[in-house]
Subunit: 200 residues, 4 copies
């Protein structure tokens, strides 16, 4: 091997290019140029364009899962655990805007890109939220009426849509702290004011 880390360089380059142009508009030669290698070299490391997209997901999400799992080990208060997930997710998305873009737009159509791809790693990722909620219910701090499988979607969807704004230059950009605090506030205690609840 003449140069090291070709695989990693391709992943990084692809993430960037997919984010900028989108999967379909991105050309293999764009990725190769970004990674400063020849077009053909890409095919020494990946089967085809789809394979690159899937690998971008898998590798980054796997890293994120490990990171989050590590942080959650030290905590058993479900409220704080949700906070950790939110902060970690938003930080990751803000840090790697390219990957964020890929998650937010390409993720949605991956199943159309690669019919066989079942995206189990991503499911494992959002199931962390379901687990936290379930744990909270067992500890009696989260309502029993909540369906964790539904709530995990709502929570992830909220985070995802909020972080999506960071990749669109149209709106005010909130900080990770603001966004994370607002989402937690909403999900934990609700939009309603305490006094209005009493009157219900």
């Amino acid at each position: 091997m003449r140069a090291v880390n070709k695989h990693a360089r391709i992943i990084t380059a692809a993430t960037k290019v997919f984010a900028k142009k989108g999967f379909f508009t991105a050309r293999i030669s764009d990725i190769a140029k970004e990674a400063k290698i020849a077009d053909g070299t890409i095919y020494l490391y990946f089967d085809n364009k789809n394979d690159i997209l899937i690998s971008v997901f898998e590798e980054e999400i796997t890293k994120l899962i490990e990171l989050v799992h590590n942080d959650l080990k030290k905590e058993d208060n479900p409220r704080k655990m949700l906070g950790i997930f939110a902060t970690r997710h938003l930080t990751a998305m803000k840090k790697n805007k390219y990957f964020a873009e890929v998650v937010q737009s390409e993720l949605r159509q991956t199943h159309k890109v690669v019919k066989e791809y079942r995206n189990t790693t991503f499911l494992a990722y959002i199931d962390i939220v379901a687990d936290i909620i379930h744990q909270g219910q067992e500890q009696g701090v989260f309502r029993q009426e909540i369906i964790p499988d539904l709530a995990k979607r709502a929570f992830f969807g909220a985070l995802d849509e909020v972080s999506r704004v960071w990749n669109i230059s149209l709106e005010t950009h909130y900080t990770v702290e603001e966004a994370s605090q607002q989402i937690l506030l909403t999900f934990l205690t609700g939009l309603e004011t305490p006094q209005s609840k009493k009157t219900l």
Copy 2:
């Protein structure tokens, strides 16, 4: 199919085809076949493929906005108004799976597809949520700390992600009522149990 005008038939056909195959994978000839017209005829009604995608959005979202606005006119309780938005949105997404798919996946990359397209109609749609929240704050029923522009994203993201599952056959399919009720419960009163709140 009724003898509707060609324009509408193309929109309907395109929505279906984009949903099934995705914007990039969909071919003009697929849309033409679905609409039972010749390929060239499409160009009498639309400038190009991008134009069709944008029109699909604009027309459907515009209809949805009108529908929601109409319903909201009769109501001024912000809690109930949020419920109306949620139910309307989820119902529309469940009813027109094709459009849902387009919103959920193609919408995300529209700004890459058509750089000039700024998607103001879609912004108007989710701004309905911001308006409701703002109204709630003025009436004193929603917390002042909530930033409407952030919360609107969280709320829409939650709805969107929950409804997205309906287009993936992997998970349990909840009803519109279940999903809407759960999301409202979460957003209005929070995940935490009343007793746990007291102890905070």
Copy 3:
């Protein structure tokens, strides 16, 4: 349809190009240029490059079979029938050098080009020879020891190899009459001189 006979024009052009460059070296754009159409137009008439090669065979051989069959109908002397086949074959090969080249070189590897293609039309063509020989045996003019299925190969091989020289500029070019007369002389009465036979 704006211009007629695109199909035929592509076949003619492809025959020429395949003959000149060989199947693998020929580019689709060469064929398109030769046929004075756009590259993409070829795909309105043929599935792919292989399909063109097979079609070149099938169509020309089919024509040749009809021609030969027609001529043979009027004759029932097996010796003369062999002569008709030889003359027709050699004439066709000399007239359409391009097709001759394709038969002689590409035919041999067609089964490597298209695994599924079984080339039954070509088999039907050389089976004409087997039929003639068989008929000759029934009439008692051809030896019973001859195996028609083997002899058909020998006869066709002789014709084919002799006509192959016409496409190589290295050697003396015989006329169709010379070649046909020589091959018939050899196959009908043998190389040996009558007197030498008596001494055997």
Copy 4:
């Protein structure tokens, strides 16, 4: 495989691979794998892919020529000499099916593959037949009307086409003895029955 030299191993491997896949479809890496060496090693022994094909011919045909020449030295009856050529050729083709395939299909397009290559070795090979026929004419056992340069093609073509069937699994497979005997019978004494000749 014995520890033979690399050159020979490449030739053997290439013969096999060319036979199976054809020259154009064969990849250098296929040959390298078959020869159990690295791709790059091939270029220490051959200039390029064409060079390998030519070498495959040259070396095998040269061997065959020597073999046939040796056998023919001991014989001066032209009839038996033709028999020796036929038997040797067919035996060689049946023994080395891979080489047979290469001769039968790739040989035909070699002049397109390598314009400069004039294939004189192959010409020397079939000229053996011309020489035998010429010798027969001088001895008065072969007809004077026969043109040796044409007859050599007919004879070789017959052998070639008959042996070609061995590489196609569609038809009855004759033994070398059957095939050789039939071809000799035909070429020496002709297809016609002795009695039919008298009546001519």
